[in-house]
Amino acid sequence: MTIKSKGISLTIEGKRIIQNIDLEVCPGKLVALLGPNGAGKSTVLKVLAGDIAPSQGTVEYENIDLFRMPIIERANLRSVMSQSQSIAFDFTVMEIIEMGWLHNNHEYYAPHYRDALTEIVQMCELQSLISRKFNTLSGGEQKRVHFARALLQLWIPETEAYPRYMLLDEPLANLDIYHELKILEIIKNHLSKNIGVLIILHDLNTANKFADNVALMKEGKIVKKGLTKDVLTEPILSATYQTKIKVNDTTPAITYM
């Protein structure tokens, strides 16, 4: 029960973007994807999400080839949050969140619409925003709305929680500390709902504190992956980021010199 990529590479116009990436995301685990700018993290996430087909290698969801899976089936298995586009028309926040609700035609889930929406709006503390126009929100607020939408996409009654996945591309960018922690807490809580999370992060300390596993990328390749404490070590980090980095036993554990 995993998302698994086996040896995926992507070459666009002769340029290797990512090379031979093996990654695994299990339900209940938080995997952080780290690395300097331009390392190919977002591309890996897009391939795992099924946006781009890799030039080589395969992506499997529960041992089924992702690119043979119907689009709607993919949508029920994973939600994605990435750099979002601007929205041309004045949708309300409620309408945007509601776009994540895929179960309108589902015999058993459809009646849960209001419960699910209420639960998620409260969880993300968006009550005061839901009747506002989405385009009038600040960047951070828009992020939180998209995050809520991604959560709603995976909502199912707890008794039927089959494995699902969230792929998050820098969900914490533009957020203040309170909401950053809030979102991390929500992600943590969702791990116990049979959801696996792949998250691209910039802050090494956040990764150190929250991730079960870490994959460190540089120049399109995975430098090192494994348990967080095995990857986030002084020599590996210093070499990857080309910066002197110190790992302590105190908090914050990781400091830059």
Binding site: R78, F89, M99
Partner: protein
């Protein structure tokens, strides 16, 4: 507490309760406009006369053979331009898109221009007669859509911006062809062509209306189920696909439906400007931007506006009449300007 903030889902197809009541209101407006247009004109008919008049009376003949088909045509054309405008603005995520943009109207115009200018030189008027112009219009529109489809590899190549640009380029090429035809036309052909370009609902017969209404109504009904997907595509094509939308299928469905109903509309009534652009924005101002409401809303509003505009065209300088395109453009263009300034303000 928060439960009250979350709207009842209302009808899944048509949006929230508030939006449903606006749709109901628009339906009423549409019905009223319809009856006003039936009763008024160079020959006034009262409501009681419709029901009391004998079978062969002049009132019956006017209503059955002249006014009813004409008002029905304006209703259908208004609905199709309104809804297709809303759908294409949604698909292109661009508030300035309209049915003219993907080149369908221009294609229909080219077909009509060829029918008016070229065919009389080869075949006699009587062999096709009545059907020549509309068939040429539909063929022209299909040709342009076929071209667009091939050039963009099934509407899939490099996203909607590319599609939009190809549409603009095709529009320009068609413009040249029409220009050449205009140049070689005789005076009387030029007159027909010019009046056709300005649009009119006059001269419609049941024989033409019935097949056209079949095409238009079918396409409009096929568009309505796409409304949720059109909402989702506002998040971007990649995001919509992550939410389970088959973007390519959506594009094909939307463009083919719009092409056939706009093609049929333009072929029968000529170029009617600004309705497809302006009506969706008016509908959004009334009841919101969700396509579940917007598609039927824009159709009803477009129909009401077109029926009323045609009524104005018929009575303002009676017994003569103004070209309908003149009226819609006269109302539409100032509104368009207002829209541009309003959009600029929203940027801050």
């Amino acid at each position: 507490m928060i439960k009250t903030l979350i709207p009842e889902q209302g009808s899944y197809l048509f949006g929230t309760r508030k939006q449903l009541s606006i749709l109901f209101f628009l339906t009423t407006v549409c019905v009223v406009a319809f009856f006003l247009a039936i009763l008024n004109g160079s020959y006034q008919i009262s409501l009681t006369e419709i029901f009391s008049a004998e079978q062969e009376s002049i009132q019956k003949v006017i209503i059955n053979d002249i006014r009813l088909p004409r008002v029905l045509l304006s209703l259908l054309v208004g609905a199709s331009l309104g809804m297709c405008g809303a759908v294409l603005q949604g698909l292109f995520r661009n508030p300035l898109a309209d049915p003219g943009l993907i080149g369908v109207s221009a294609g229909a115009a080219l077909g009509a221009a060829i029918a008016i200018v070229v065919t009389p030189k080869f075949i006699s008027e009587s062999s096709f007669g009545l059907f020549l112009l509309p068939i040429a219009g539909v063929l022209g529109a299909s040709l342009v859509i076929g071209l667009l489809f091939t050039l963009t590899k099934g509407f899939g190549y490099q996203g909607t911006t590319y599609l939009l640009l190809v549409g603009i380029a095709i529009n320009a090429i068609v413009g040249v062809a029409i220009g050449v035809l205009t140049y070689i036309s005789t005076d009387s052909e030029l007159r027909t062509l010019t009046f056709w370009t300005m649009g009119s609902f006059g001269g419609i017969t049941w024989l033409l209306l019935i097949p056209a209404s079949f095409v238009i109504i079918t396409s409009l009904l096929l568009l309505i189920p796409s409304s949720r997907n059109l909402d989702l595509i506002q998040l971007g094509e990649a995001e919509a696909s992550r939410l389970g939308v088959d973007v390519k299928k959506l594009k094909i469905r939307v463009i083919l439906c719009c092409a056939s109903c706009v093609g049929a509309s333009v072929a029968l009534s000529g170029m009617i400007g600004f309705v497809g652009l302006v009506v969706p924005h008016l509908a959004r101002l009334l009841g919101g931007v969700s396509h579940r409401y917007l598609l039927p809303g824009a159709a009803l509003l477009g129909a009401s506006i077109m029926v009323s505009a045609d009524l104005i065209a018929r009575i303002i300088i009676q017994p003569a009449e103004l070209p309908i395109g003149l009226i819609t453009s006269a109302i539409g263009s100032p509104f368009f300007l207002w829209l541009i300034f309003r959009m600029k303000k929203n940027d801050y």
